[in-house]
């Protein structure tokens, strides 16, 4: 009985296994195509990647290659091998040391466009400089930062192969919770903690890393592509007082419903936005509606900046607030907003920088920069911050982290302007560097002299 059954099963199976071959090949081919696309896109997306290839190819024998590459690439700010002649010498002598260290040092020194040259390059190149440790750093937090961080960490890893970063864009609130619980090496938030805050790892340091504008993106054909909104109008839209696009623009037929979209999760973007609404129109937007996750009286919630952008794009009559990079990436229309001097301004690098410039005394305890003065200032702007522990329990990781943060605040800022963020003004870069220098090892010794 048993014997007789088996051959039948086999014969029945053979054509099917033939089909499996075909399916297998198709899957394989699909995978290859996907892999090809995946590998090509980052290469094309960032232009200044060429030096990295030199770097990768010549590990030991290419000391000369690197210097020649440096000579050609000194102008590019992100240059991995941006080694100036003076620093090329220690790199040659200490060839046993990981290359990443010397390049990091030189990058910091050579490429700091906005840095007021506080000499931090040499400060970071203190006693521990010559073994920049290999480290995998984990971070979590702000979705506002995500598009920038994705580029910066990619670039930084290309320049410093030893350091790789896992960043989870889970929202400012979650990032704060994670750093307070010490489950990540750094948290990112658009809302800094109060200066006295301590987590499970002790005192926190807060480093400003990026400046950005919050765009009022909308999806309503009758508003055209350059809508003008006043702060009061935005407050009344979100509070439910204005429900019709007709009230804003007579070109819209009456009965064009407005659907405000807000952040459903706790968010630093919401914090800046609601602070702005409160500062321009306290009557329509009371102080109980200010915060990272206030109870919005009307509209629908999206999850993260990307969720809001998606809801605006897919909805009808929608308006939402998102970091400018998200509006640009999604191709959304965004409004010109009236500033405190009465002119309507769209968010871009110069208008956000103009807003930030009217708040010279920013600290972690005094961080809001909404509704600044200046004819060209875009009023809904915010800094974003990275939170790290002052005492780094693992010295190697601490050094790698400090160096990376310094790079992000200086050379890495060139990634910001490319995608709609605004490079940090020089006084904020100085604040960032002064803060990074406070990092210590577990014994309390400064990591960077």
């Amino acid at each position: 009985m048993f014997k007789r059954v088996t051959p039948e099963v086999r014969s029945g199976e053979s054509p099917r296994s033939g089909k499996r071959w075909i399916i297998g090949t198709m899957v394989l081919a699909g995978g290859l195509v996907a892999a090809a696309c995946g590998s090509s896109s980052p290469a094309t997306s960032s232009a200044a990647k060429k030096p990295a290839t030199h770097h990768k190819s010549g590990s030991a024998a290419a000391a000369t290659t690197t210097t020649t590459a440096a000579a050609t690439a000194t102008t590019t700010t992100t240059a991995a091998a941006g080694a100036t002649p003076t620093t090329a010498a220690p790199a040659a002598t200490g060839s046993a040391a990981p290359k990443a260290s010397s390049t990091t040092k030189t990058t910091v020194k050579a490429a700091a466009p906005a840095a007021p040259s506080t000499g931090l390059g040499s400060a970071l190149g203190g006693s521990n400089d010559f073994n920049t440790p290999a480290a995998t750093l984990t971070g979590a937090g702000s979705t506002f930062d995500q598009p920038l961080f994705a580029r910066q960490f990619f670039d930084y890893h290309n320049d410093n192969k030893g350091v790789s970063v896992n960043y989870a864009s889970v929202g400012s609130g979650a990032g704060e919770a994670d750093i307070l619980a010490s489950s990540v090496a750094f948290g990112a938030s658009d809302v800094p903690e109060p200066g006295s805050t301590t987590g499970t790892g002790g005192a926190l340091l807060q480093v400003p890393v990026v400046l950005g504008g919050i765009a009022m993106a909308y999806n309503e054909p009758c508003m055209g592509t350059n809508a003008h909104l006043t702060g009061t109008q935005i407050a009344q839209i979100y509070s439910g007082k204005i429900t019709d696009w007709h009230a804003i623009d007579a070109n819209c037929p009456s009965g064009s419903n407005i659907e405000p979209v807000y952040r459903a999760d706790s968010s630093g973007t919401s914090n800046a936005f609601t602070n702005y609404l409160h500062s321009v129109d306290g009557a329509d937007w009371g102080s109980s509606l200010v915060g990272k996750q206030p109870a919005f009286p009307k509209g629908e919630g999206g999850n993260g900046n990307a969720g809001v952008a998606g809801d605006v794009q897919g909805g009808a009559g929608t308006i939402g607030y998102v970091e400018l990079a998200y509006a640009l990436q999604s191709g959304l229309n965004y409004a010109a907003v009236q500033n405190s001097s009465g002119s309507f301004v769209v968010p871009n690098a110069s208008s956000v920088a103009a807003d930030a410039a009217s708040f010279p005394g920013v600290t972690a305890d005094n961080y809001l920069i909404v509704n600044g003065s200046g004819a060209n200032a875009y009023p809904i702007s915010t800094y974003s911050w990275v939170l790290v522990y002052q005492k780094q329990s693992n010295q190697n990781n601490g050094i790698a982290l400090g160096k990376m943060l310094d790079w992000m605040a200086t050379a890495g800022q060139s990634d910001a302007s490319a995608i709609g963020y605004v490079p940090l003004p020089s006084n904020i870069v100085a604040l960032a560097e002064a803060t990074i220098k406070k990092m210590t090892n577990s014994a309390g010794q400064a990591l960077f002299s």
Binding site: F2, V170, G171, G173, A174, E176, A177, L180, A181, N257, E259, A264, D265, S266, S288, L289, V290, G291, K292, Q293, P294, A295, F296, P297, K298, G299, E300, G301, G302, N303, G310, D311, G314, G315, A316, G317, T318
Partner: protein, 322 residues
């Protein structure tokens, strides 16, 4: 040629010789079963202990209050319970008739050549991850709903009562519709088995009496499979209540009960509000406790659905076909 099968006599001999190993085997099975009971108990205990802070703070009124404000720390579960029930109800209203009709078609009328691949196709829907269904709902169904379905619903006389106001995209209705697609396979697969279990003799008797195919299904097959259909409905309901990710994408995540009351409003369910806020809540805070209290409510609803379903099924079995 190795010997593949033992004769029954040999098997019996083997069994006698290995009593002790058989006892060990039984112990293993008992342990496995006990672990799951323990896990269930641990889940309930863990959530219960974490949620006491919220219930202590707001009292039993937490169940029907509709505030959710992290600035003033005012929370209630009312709107989320309503949201969960509304979305589930929409899904069941769509999925139960469609699922039952499909199952009847597959067992009663469909030629076997078509029935088998069709059944496999429906089962495959059940295998699609819910995030994929959610994205499909967001990018494919939402524009269709905005353009065609929702304006159409507003024109139907009685139904239009539920479709007042302005449709902006995400809504209870869209979420409920997509959810119904996710639970139809459960409904079909289980009620199909139940319908197939009704005796051929019953059908033939009905046909002999001159019943039309429709009458056979309606008067003989469906009543005969009543308990199985109830079981299918219960399981589908259980899945619908707990579904989270697709709903979060489609419901609009508004923590308010919109005004005017309409299925086109954005809303939130117990699952969606937990998934959106849990990452932001610091352990030990009131918000974290509130979220776990919402999880407890969700758990209780799910258990009630399952236990209630089981009791109904047992009742209907006791009394035979209703």
């Amino acid at each position: 040629m190795t010997q593949q099968l033992d004769s029954p006599r040999q098997l019996l001999a083997q069994r006698r010789s290995s009593r002790s190993s058989g006892r060990g085997y039984a112990l293993l099975l008992w342990t496995a079963a006990a672990i799951f009971v323990l896990v269930l108990a641990a889940i309930i205990e863990g959530i219960l202990s974490q949620s006491t802070q919220a219930f202590g703070h707001f009292g039993i009124g937490f169940l029907w209050h509709t505030a959710f404000n992290t600035v003033t720390n005012q929370y209630g579960a009312g709107q989320f319970i309503i949201g969960t029930l509304v979305v589930t109800a929409i899904a069941m209203v769509i999925a139960v008739p469609i699922g039952l009709a499909t199952a009847s078609f597959l067992t009663e009328m469909c030629p076997r050549r078509i029935a088998t691949p069709l059944g496999v196709a429906i089962d495959l829907i059940a295998a699609v991850p819910s995030i994929v269904v959610g994205l499909w709902g967001l990018y494919v169904m939402q524009p269709v709903f905005l353009r065609d379905v929702e304006p159409f619903m507003k024109k139907i006389p009685v139904v239009s009562f539920f479709f007042k106001g302005f449709a902006a995209g995400p809504s209870y209705f869209l979420a409920g519709f997509v959810l119904s697609i996710m639970i139809v396979p459960t409904m079909v697969a289980l009620s199909r088995t139940a319908l197939a279990g009704v005796g051929t003799a019953d059908r033939e008797a009905a046909i002999a009496l001159g019943a039309t195919p429709w009458q056979v299904v309606r008067k003989v097959v469906v009543p005969g499979a009543n308990s199985g259909i109830l079981a299918a409905t219960t399981l589908a309901l259980g899945r619908a209540v707990g579904e989270t990710i697709a709903i979060t994408l489609l419901i609009g995540n508004s923590n308010l009960i919109g005004h005017p009351l309409s299925l086109l409003n954005p809303g939130a369910t117990l699952g969606s509000v937990i998934v959106l806020n849990f990452g932001e809540s610091t352990p030990g805070t009131l918000l974290r406790s509130v979220l776990l209290a919402l999880a407890l409510i969700l758990l209780v609803i799910t258990l009630m659905v399952n236990i209630g379903g089981r009791m109904i099924v047992r009742k209907s079995r006791q009394f035979g076909a209703l």
